[in-house]
Amino acid sequence: MPPTDRQSAEKLAHPPLDRRQWLRWAAVAGLAGLTGGCSQRTPGTPQGKEEASLRFPEKVSLRVINDRPPCLETPWNYYRHDLTPNDAFYVRWHLQFLPTTVDLQTWRLRIGGHVERPLEFSLADLRSLERSSVVAVNQCSGNSRSFFNPPVPGAQWNNGAMGNARWTGVPLRELLKKAGIKAGTVDVTFAGLDRGGFAVDPGEPWQTGQHKESTEKFPNVPDFVKSLPIDEARRPDILVAYEMNGEALPVLNGFPVRLVVPGWYATYWMKSLSEIRLVPQQYNGYWMKPAYRIPTTPNAIETPDHLSASTVPINRMNVRSFFVTPESGARLNAAQTHELEGIAFDGGDGIRVVEISPHGGQTWREASLGNDLGRCSFRRWRFSWRPEQKGSHQLLVRATSNSGEVQPLEEGWNRSGYMRNVVEKLTVEVV
């Protein structure tokens, strides 16, 4: 065990400790041979008892996929809103030490590396710059992972690891321009305030560019750092956002600022962004390679027996659509008109058409599209349906993007449980 971890563990040992800290300390101390293990030191709480009261700060009751680090899923009824409310917006952290305390007096966003002028910005500095807004879907790469067959390890999301919000902030491009992009820049890396490992000194400041990686000699939880190719980073719609739906971001969604990369999976939307670094070579940190990779095959599909030999970093979202109302299993009266409703989105081309098949895919009929909030937003669809026959009905919904990308009828699979976008089915009982 590295001495730094032991030192940190000792710092954590100063009272008062909450149970969470105590658990960590006890576990680390146990490793260091100070205690004989910790199961008898952590009084049991009956499983399930805490479920009802497990509410996270600034959040309504969300489906708890994990509590440390928090992975919280948005309940389905919230997709009745075009913009997902901040307090219902899903949460996904990789590392257990979150920035639960942020002091804006000292917080700075730093831009450095391969630039003409390293710069730092306070939140007030960022707010004083010309602001820009975009409505965009933020979707976890592994949204819907729990439906993969055969199952794959990872956070077992249903479909609720996504949300749509109006993001406001400063275009990343403007900040890069101020710092001066040096010739030969290849990638732009992004790091936040969260930290991994067994224990951490909360006062430990970031050393710019000094990120912890996992090595064969010293495997450990690597810091969460992501990168974009410079040409992508220069896109005008990528924001360093300090507002979400007109308010400060909830801490669990990345206060004080997060990166917004419209059309791309949420893994790039660095929460509690604190460091931007330009590099003159491809960045291959753990969370870019080998993590968050997809097969180079069409729609990232492979099979367990034939895993793709070549992979690339996950990037743009594929096209999806969902039923929102009614919910699966609903009982609908025969010979009456019912308003079906749902959402569709893609990786930034916008939705051309949404079609409904009331008869299991044999025929398709066009749904009407709702307000256009932008090409990266949820697009609401509505469909009036009048079932005549009683019994169980299966309806399908299929979206096509403006670039002609269409959802597949057959479900795909890959080893990481990413990019599911098979046509969704809804079963209702007509009575």
Partner: protein, 125 residues
């Protein structure tokens, strides 16, 4: 000496007032900090408190070894919400935790932890 007495009283009162104005709030702040509820923080500090709702790992073989190692980085819930994997798959997952994330599991401990993980889904039935 006596002629200056009224002036001294005034000075003493002023000093007392100053002491009350400064020391009492500071003391209150300090007391608030040591007892930590509610915490006194400047307006520039944004602070949240995460709930403590970790489920206890269900009984099973080698549960102590699971607790001592796996809980260093994540809640048991992450494990309890996983689907049913084969023993081989659990072995691959533990390998990743050891070799990539640095879980301090010794090669001797690994089979014990895999056995615990493999036993979990029996509780569901």
């Amino acid at each position: 000496v006596h002629t200056t007495a009224p002036f001294r009283w005034g000075s003493l009162l002023a000093t007392l007032a100053a002491v009350l104005l400064i020391v009492v709030p500071v003391a209150a702040t300090l007391r608030g900090r040591t007892h930590s509820d509610p915490p006194v923080v400047p307006a520039t500090v944004h602070h949240i408190v995460l709930p403590d709702g970790e489920p206890e790992p269900p009984p099973g073989p080698n549960r102590d070894q699971f607790t001592a190692n796996c809980r260093l980085c994540h809640s048991p819930r992450l494990v309890l919400t996983q689907p049913r994997f084969t023993e081989k798959k659990w072995g691959e997952i533990v390998d990743k935790m050891m070799n990539t994330y640095g879980a301090p599991i010794t090669p001797e401990q690994k089979p014990a932890i895999v056995a615990y993980l493999n036993s979990l889904h029996q509780h569901e039935q």
